[in-house]
Amino acid sequence: MMASGYNAKEEDGHHSGAPGNGGAGAVKSKKPDNTAFKQQRLPAWQPILTAGTVLPAFFVIGLIFIPIGIGLFVTSNNIKEFEIDYTGIEASSPCYNCAQNYSWNSTSSCTCKVPFTLEQPFESNVFMYYGLSNFYQNHRRYVKSRDDSQLNGDLTSLKSPSKECDPYRTSDGLPIAPCGAIANSLFNDTLELYHLSNGTRTAVVLMKKGIAWWTDKNVKFRNPGGNANLTVAFQGTSKPVNWRTPVFELDPNDPDNNGFINEDFIVWMRTAALPTFRKLYRIIQKKVDAPTLASGKYELEVSYNYPVRSFDGRKRVILSTISWMGGKNPFLGIAYITVGSVCFFLAVVLLIIHHKYDNRCSSADIPN
């Protein structure tokens, strides 16, 4: 630090008044630049928050939010939704017996039929969901318990799944094919919907394609070795403990819907955010001439495989149309209306405050 930049070879003698210190090199002044930035004088907007200046903002928010809220509320109310709980807790429930006797160890399925009536017809596409309550799919260890590489068809991961899958990683020395707890706990109830009209029982056509995200189906989830022969591809692996069928036989009807790219499987693997959730099960395509689901009697045939009693869970089936903003949920509309009203109210309060107190300040700061 000392003496750096010093010119020691300064000549002795004729200094015209500027000898000594610093020498010739030190002529440069240390004066700071007079720039707006360095002098902290950047042009700036200085809002001052007072009742007067804030008031318009509150009014504007109120005026914008209330109409939005009303719009959302109306939209949500136009959505038709029907929900049936088929858990079978109550003795009167058709699935009571199944629920009582069923556990993961059962090998045969128990079927129960749940009748219900639709008061109003469902017009557009109807989405059929199954819903679970009290099922903590968001549990930390549960969420982790999967191997994305395996699910993406990676052969090494297929044979030696990630440690995260423990303790559902191997069974009997063989690697479990979709390893981990999520896969292991796959929802395996089968739901079928029948329309009862005039004594006839017609099955409603349920689309099982397109229920998963496109990216999941086509990018994230892939079968090992392509889709050629899944039995071969999954050779040397074991099915998850709770499963009855191996992964390549998930959908006996559609060979393209087997293995890791089975859409029900993919949907299940997308862990739900909250303990009460629904998952898309099937889609009922809109009919050209008639309502998708006409009003009337229906019957839900459930092959009851999935035990929920141990954790006080509930199983539901939901039929719902959707709008541009998703399923039926009046909350956002209400929220908008409420916040809008509160803003409006606060604006009035501010107006009073402004009139009582702000005139004390100079009139200069009112125009913002």
Binding site: G17, P32, Q39, W104, Y129, Y142, N184, N242, S310, L346
Partner: protein, 1466 residues
């Protein structure tokens, strides 16, 4: 042959060395010449153990960097904590994130710091290399000449040759110099900042070498101290008998001046040089804000633990409810075992610590550091803190206490050099009891002021000087009418114009501005000097005894001789600066031995006059350096002298001018003095044609009128020290041939040593008169010095000399013995006279003090000066107000007397105000608008009692209730004790400012130490945290930068806490919906980088750039500073408020998406991503609400942050379909962006979250506006009145458009017009507006004022004048002077009152004063109260023998004498 002998020598030396080493290994260092060992192998060189001259200030090497840097970083506890958490992630049972990811932030933070360290180290390395590769001439034995070598190659024991203007590469013992006096001059500016030259002497045993020094013949062994860092200490021996002192040592970093060549041997090299040992890096202090922050960090830890504990218990219970039936979603441990709920809870606790770690803000520490660096940068860059004259700007030496500047409560200031310029101007003197008032000189000084004011007329005036002048003047005029004119004249603070001229003229000569140099002599005195000179000449010429000269003339001549001789001034001529002027008459060294003395003092050696023809002799004098001993000029020599002058001799005939005109520039001599007083005195003497022409170690050449040049043989110089407070020279008078001692020193020191005048009334009278004039000078604020002399007979001298020489050669206790020896000599002095030197106030000091005080800062001045001087300077700089009462505490000895004094004011209800103030303090309020109308003056001796343990509380109680405190005659230790006491007992933030070495301890003790980089060296600066070029910059530093730094940082820290709490709470709420499993809906990448990247930049920008109030307003309204003093921006409750707000906001941000997605098929991360987004938007908008100034950088940073988040999210969500387990958010954000619900959430959630804060801020702005808010409103109205160009105004005090301000204030301030009908007519407003107003203002205060004054008159007669009375008399006078106040000032006052009234109506603590101030006519009420108090006090105290005065004030003898003498004079 040569090697043989060398070998033999070497062996001998070696034996010696070993022997010595055994004895003194630990105490000394033995240095041999390296050339003896050139052939020997390295390990045989006895110097090999000493460090070489290569310096390495770097901390790291390439290899050691990583471990060492990490080790250092882990000294910070937070880093250890974060690493611990990151490592915790590697434990599978508890891990929350991917372990590698969890390491990322810690690694990032560590590497940012490491890179910063590396860069700093690299810079050090580069400068090291540069220094190491400088060239130097080193003697090489094989070549038998000096060779160029790099500095780093120099080793201890090398001989090096130095040429003029070279920098010393190491600490070198001077062995030879080309200077015939064996001297070498060095400039130590780089070492201690002192620009004057210092003399160094060749080691004595090498003194008589006439031929050039030949290193190959050197064979001495040097034994000296171990390396130490004391610059002023060096002792050792060479060849076992010849002592070495600090005068022989040339220190590294100094520059050789005035000496063509010098040779020396390296004693200390490299890191062992004194310069390097003195070089310690910046200090680390912890600011108040940071301390407060640490408390809240601690609270954060508690909150974190509570949250973790809560979650852990929740998890345990959640698990417990399932009993043995483990649900399918409760994954077993990896081994498949069932973990018990209890153990799970324990694991979870650790997991939660990881998940919630963000609550302890990892980036907070780094952000604070970055912001502080930026703040320091801006402070550095402030052009208003740049001093053009010295080309210095403010230096921040401590990087991490900038915000402390905004929280100061007490300022402790030094006086000399801090408040004053330390530029001494000779003002008046008294010789032999006759005062010479130097009116012409005063007029000359007045001229400087006029010049200034003319120049100031061009630039906006700085204002406020005139009223001050008047108040000071009036203060004294009450007592001394005669003086008033001169006093009133011009103690104008040095103006820029003058200073600029000075700096151009004398850039490299310290203490010699034209104002100091050109002294107009007093004609009366000049006549006497001339007369004395000619008479003396006559007497001398006719060989008559000197006693024939009238004693007063003799005294005058002696007085001036003393002024010229008794100093250490070095003479140089301007055309060859740093080239000492030689005027040698005889070559003689100072008396060193008795034999020498006897030899030299035989009567035959009277070598005075020899020439009769003056012309020729003088001419020869000029051309030859060693001419005749003295030049006698006949009384009629004037013509020849003027002729000489025309010739413009190189030596400068400065003092030879016949007329009184100031010496013309060109050919004058330059004086370089160690202290400014000395220079001032020498210049003063020169004005009387007694000029110092040359100074050699053994001789001083003086030119006297009519006598020509006289050589005074300099026998001894007893230097100045602060204990003796005087210096003396012992010379042989060339005319009388007597040995004469001239002593110069503080009056208190000298007066005690004056020989009691046994004979003659005259002497006694002179003594008495001088003392009275001394008091008068002191009252004028002049620094007084007494000049005395003493003639010694040869026997006396011989006797003293013996003792002195013994002392000089003593090894142990040399200093002490020299001191004693000096005391022996300096007795029984004959008083010659006294001088008054003015130490001019620095520019803008009164204004600065006034505004700092308005800012609620208590200012204490701690000075070593005498009381009267200090009090007067205090008045001059507005520290003391003539209107306030002054409490003077002077105790003689007994502790009891002081005790009584200290209890009196409190106990007996001495002044109601005191009690009032005390109670106000007790209530915890720093009462900003209640002006304490009390000043305390205490002297050093009393201070010593006051600082006693038993009394310090009482002292503080008294001192605290005073508006200003002045401690005079205090030692450096006392200064630091006072600061420490106040700091520790009152728990306040203290700032110490000083410029000299005596302030160092005080600067170090205070919370913030400020050094003035003035003329007294760099020690204060080295010890300081901030170094200012001028005192007045303190105003902007504190009021503007301090305020900004504080409010910025406080807001940033609060925001940080809020931000982290808000984000963490989101995850906390989620725990209720995930079985308290430690799961997080926020993707771990967002979680980790949220703080580090997404939300980091806007707060940094705001923390660096936000200005709550503009610089302009902050300076105009110093009251706003109290914001920081009271920690308004960051009070403990604010932390909790922010936490509450954070929890509320996180609730909103969590539950709105929760309900919006409730029961839907949303998956965990598709739901979590909107929450993250909402949190980010909310956090950014929150910052927006808190941001007061929006520059493009704020906008840019906020937009950038938002964009960064989306950019990162988009690329992250589309980059890899299988990575990023467990969240695997492939294509999540892309889907979300197509969903209208996402946008709807983004709209409603932040609005809902921020609604309360926004509403609260708006209400606060309207209902309880803080002073800063008012300031901001003022800002705005200013801008509007000035077309948005606020900056053209500059400083309020110097504004060119006071009208604009008035209107601004008026328009802003509604109550104001009631008292000031808006009669701001344009242009004429200045005079018309102020005068009637002041008259009106003073009217209501008149009745009580009269009473007190009347009362005073009655008591004043029977009592000695006391400070109290003096102050009471003053208001009447100042009332008159107020009328001519400058308009700016009155504008300011008005605005203050107005604003304070307005401002204070809201904070509850200030309410009381505010009401009073607001309803009474501005200015009137406070004065009214002050006088009533006065009156009451006198009423109360009168019946007894005035108890207050007698008890509080034990008047010293001196001041009594002063008062008497003044009465005489009047």
């Amino acid at each position: 042959m040569a090697p043989e002998s060398e070998e033999a020598g070497m062996v001998k030396v070696k034996v010696k060395t070993q022997k010595k080493k055994k004895n003194k290994e630990n105490k000394t260092r033995i240095v041999h010449a390296n050339i003896l060992y050139d052939n020997a192998k390295g390990e045989e060189n006895p110097n090999r153990h000493f460090s070489d001259n290569k310096i390495k200030t770097t901390k790291y090497t390439l290899l050691s960097f990583l471990p060492k840097n990490l080790f250092e970083q882990f000294h910070r506890f937070a880093n250890v904590y974060f690493v611990f958490i990151a490592l915790l992630n590697f434990v599978p049972v508890v891990n929350a994130f991917q372990p590698e990811l969890a390491l990322a932030p810690v690694v990032f933070i560590l590497s940012v710091t490491a890179i910063k360290d590396l860069w700093e180290d690299y810079r050090r390395h580069r400068s090291d290399t540069e220094i190491n590769h400088m060239d130097c001439l080193v003697y090489s034995r094989p070549e038998k000449r000096y060779l160029e070598r790099f500095w780093k190659q120099i080793r201890v024991g090398d001989f090096i040759r130095l040429r003029c203007n070279e920098i010393l590469p190491a600490d070198v013992l001077l062995l030879s110099s080309s200077d015939p006096d064996r001297l070498c001059h060095i400039e130590t500016a780089t070492l201690d900042g002192e620009t004057n030259l210092k003399q160094r002497q060749v080691v004595r045993s090498f003194f008589h070498l006439d031929c050039e020094f030949d290193p190959s013949k050197y064979n001495g062994v040097i034994e000296c101290e171990k390396p130490n860092n004391d610059l002023n200490r060096f002792r050792g021996y060479i060849g076992r008998k010849c002592g070495l002192y600090k005068e022989n040592l040339l220190l590294r970093g100094c520059t050789i001046r005035n000496t063509e060549e010098a040779v020396g041997i390296v004693i200390y090299a490299g890191h062992e040089t004194k310069a390097m040992l003195n070089n310690n890096g910046p200090r680390y202090k912890r600011s108040k804000l940071e301390r407060q922050m640490n408390v809240d960090v601690f609270w954060c830890v508690i909150i974190l633990l509570v949250m973790c504990l809560f979650t852990a218990i929740g998890h345990g219970l959640w698990l417990f409810q399932y009993g043995d039936k483990r649900p399918v979603f409760d994954v077993l441990s990896p081994e498949g075992a069932n973990v018990s709920p209890g153990l799970s809870a324990v694991y979870l606790f650790l997991t939660m610590i990881i998940v919630f770690q963000v609550l302890i803000p990892i980036s907070l520490f780094v952000s604070i550091e970055i912001v502080k660096i930026c703040q320091v940068f801006f402070i550095h860059q402030d052009s208003e803190l740049y001093d053009e004259e010295t080309d210095t700007h403010l230096q921040c030496r401590a990087l991490n206490i900038t915000e402390d500047l905004g929280q100061m409560q007490y300022i402790f200031s030094d006086k000399t050099g801090t408040l004053t310029e330390n530029k001494m101007v000779f003002r008046r003197c008294t010789v032999a009891g006759v005062e010479y008032s130097h009116d012409a000189n005063a007029r000359r000084l007045a001229m400087y002021q006029e010049l200034e004011s003319e120049e100031e007329a061009e630039c906006p005036s700085r204002g406020g000087t005139l009223p001050r002048r008047d108040s000071v003047g009036s203060h004294q005029s009450a007592r001394v009418v005669l003086r008033s004119q001169s006093t009133k004249s011009h103690r104008r603070t040095g103006s820029r114009a003058e200073a600029k001229r000075a700096s151009i003229l004398s850039k490299h000569t310290a203490f010699s501005s034209p104002m100091e140099k050109d002294i107009t002599p007093d004609p009366q005195l000049l006549d006497k000097v001339n007369e004395g000179g000619s008479q003396l000449n006559f007497i001398h010429f006719h060989r008559q005894p000197m006693s024939q000269l009238p004693s007063d003339l003799a005294d005058i001549i002696d007085f001036f001789v003393a002024l010229t001789v008794c100093n250490t001034v070095v003479v140089s001529s301007p055309d060859q600066p740093r080239q000492k002027v030689r005027m040698r008459f005889e070559l003689k060294s100072p008396v060193k031995t008795i034999e020498d003395f006897i030899k030299r003092f035989t009567p035959s050696r009277l070598t005075s006059g020899s020439n009769s023809s003056s012309t020729s002799s003088l001419v020869t004098n000029r051309s030859s350096t060693r001419g005749c001993s003295s030049a006698l000029s006949s009384p009629s020599a004037e013509s020849t002298l003027t002729k000489l002058d025309e010739e413009g001799s190189r030596l400068g005939g400065a003092g030879l001018l016949a007329d009184f005109s100031p010496v013309p520039g060109g050919a004058e001599l330059r004086y370089e003095a160690e202290s400014p007083d000395e220079a001032a005195l020498v210049y003063a003497a020169r004005a009387y044609k007694c000029s110092l022409v040359g100074r050699l170690p053994d001789q001083v050449t003086v030119e006297l009128p009519h006598l020509g040049k006289l050589g005074f043989e300099l026998l001894h110089t007893l230097g100045f020290d602060s204990t003796r407070k005087r210096m003396s020279v012992v010379v042989r008078h060339p005319l009388t041939d007597q040995i004469t001692v001239y002593t110069k020193g503080a009056d208190s020191a000298i007066m005690e040593l004056i020989k009691p005048p046994l004979t003659g009334k005259r002497q006694r009278k002179i003594l008495c008169k001088t003392q009275s004039y001394l008091n008068l000078y002191a009252a004028d604020g002049l620094r007084t010095l007494c000049i005395a002399k003493k003639t010694l007979s040869k026997e006396e001298y011989a006797c003293w000399l013996q003792g002195h020489l013994e002392a000089e050669t003593a090894i142990h206790g040399r200093e002490e013995r020299l001191f004693q020896s000096a005391l022996r000599l300096e007795t029984d002095l004959h008083l010659l006279g006294a001088t008054g030197i003015e130490d001019r106030l620095q520019d803008g000091v009164p204004e600065t003090i006034a505004s700092l005080r308005k800012a609620g800062l208590q200012i204490w001045v701690l000075t070593g000066d005498k009381q009267e001087t200090a009090v007067n300077i205090a008045y001059a700089c507005k520290l003391l107000d003539p209107e306030e009462e002054i409490l003077t505490l002077n105790a003689d000895s007994q502790v009891q007397s002081w005790y009584g004094a200290s209890t009196a004011p409190i106990g007996s209800g001495y002044i109601p105000g005191t009690v009032l103030v005390g109670s106000a303090h007790a209530a915890g309020a720093t009462t900003p608008f209640l002006v304490h109308r009390l000043g305390l003056v205490i002297d050093g001796r009393t201070l010593a009692y006051a600082l006693d343990k038993s009394l310090e509380d009482k002292f503080l109680e008294v001192a605290r209730s005073c508006r200003s405190v002045l401690c005079c005659r205090s030692t450096p230790l006392q200064k630091s004790t006072v600061v420490k006491l106040v700091r520790n007992k009152l728990k306040v933030m203290t700032l110490a400012i000083g410029d000299g070495a005596n302030d160092v301890s005080m600067i170090q003790v205070a919370d913030v130490g400020v050094g003035i980089s003035g003329q007294e060296g760099m020690q204060a600066v080295m010890a300081s945290d901030f170094a200012l070029p001028r005192f007045q910059y303190l105003q902007k530093l504190l009021l503007v930068h301090g305020h900004w730094c504080y409010s910025r940082l406080a807001n940033m820290i609060l925001y940080f806490f809020y931000k982290n709490a808000m984000f963490v709470a989101l995850i906390f709420w989620f725990q209720f919906y995930c079985g308290f499993s430690g799961s997080s809906m926020v993707d771990q990448w967002y979680l980790v980088f949220f703080n580090l990247m997404f939300s980091a930049f806007p707060q940094l920008v705001t923390g660096t750039l936000d200005k709550d109030v503009s610089a302009h307003t902050l300076q105009a309204l110093p009251q706003l500073y109290m914001n920081g003093q009271n920690s308004e921006e960051y009070k403990p409750y604010m932390f909790w408020m922010n936490m509450m707000d954070a929890f509320y906001q996180s609730l909103v941000c969590f539950f709105i998406p929760y309900f919006a997605y409730a029961g839907s098929d949303v998956d965990l991360f598709t739901w979590g991503t909107p929450i993250t987004t909402l949190a980010l938007i909310t956090i950014l908008l929150h910052l927006g609400i808190e941001t007061k100034t929006w520059t493009w950088m704020n906008w840019a940073s906020i937009v950038f942050s938002a964009c960064l988040f989306f950019a990162v999210a988009l690329s992250y969500n589309s980059s890899c379909p299988t990575c990023y387990a467990p969240s695997n958010p492939y294509w999540t954000i892309q889907r979300l962006l197509l969903e209208p619900r996402f946008y709807l959430l983004c709209l409603v959630t932040p609005v809902t979250a921020l609604l309360p804060r926004y509403f609260y801020r708006a209400c606060q702005g309207s209902l309880f506006p803080s002073p800063t808010k008012v300031g901001r409103q003022l800002d705005r109205s200013w801008r509007q009145t000035h077309g948005g160009n606020i900056f053209s105004l500059g400083n309020l005090a110097s504004t060119s458009d006071p009208l604009g301000l008035k209107t601004a204030f008026a328009s802003f301030n509604n109550p104001l017009p009631r008292y000031f009908p808006p009669k701001d007519h344009p242009q004429s407003a200045h005079s018309t507006l102020t005068i009637p107003k002041d008259a009106a203002v003073s009217a209501p205060s008149d009745p009580p004022l009269r009473t007190s004054e009347d009362h005073d008159q009655s008591t004043a007669t029977d009592d000695t004048q006391s400070c109290l009375e003096v102050t009471k008399e003053l208001p009447g006078v100042t009332e008159g002077s107020r009328v001519v106040e400058s308009p700016e000032r009155s504008a300011l006052q008005r605005s203050d009152i107005g604003v304070s009234g307005w401002v204070s109506s809201t904070p509850p603590l200030l309410q009381k004063e505010a009401v009073e101030l607001g309803t009474a006519p501005p200015g009137g009420r406070s004065r009214c109260v002050a006088y009533t108090r006065n009156w009451e006090q006198n009423q109360g105290s009168d019946p007894e023998t005035p108890p207050v005065e007698s008890r509080t004030r034990t008047q010293t003898k001196q001041s009594i004498a002063a008062d008497y003498s003044e009465e005489d004079r009047l």
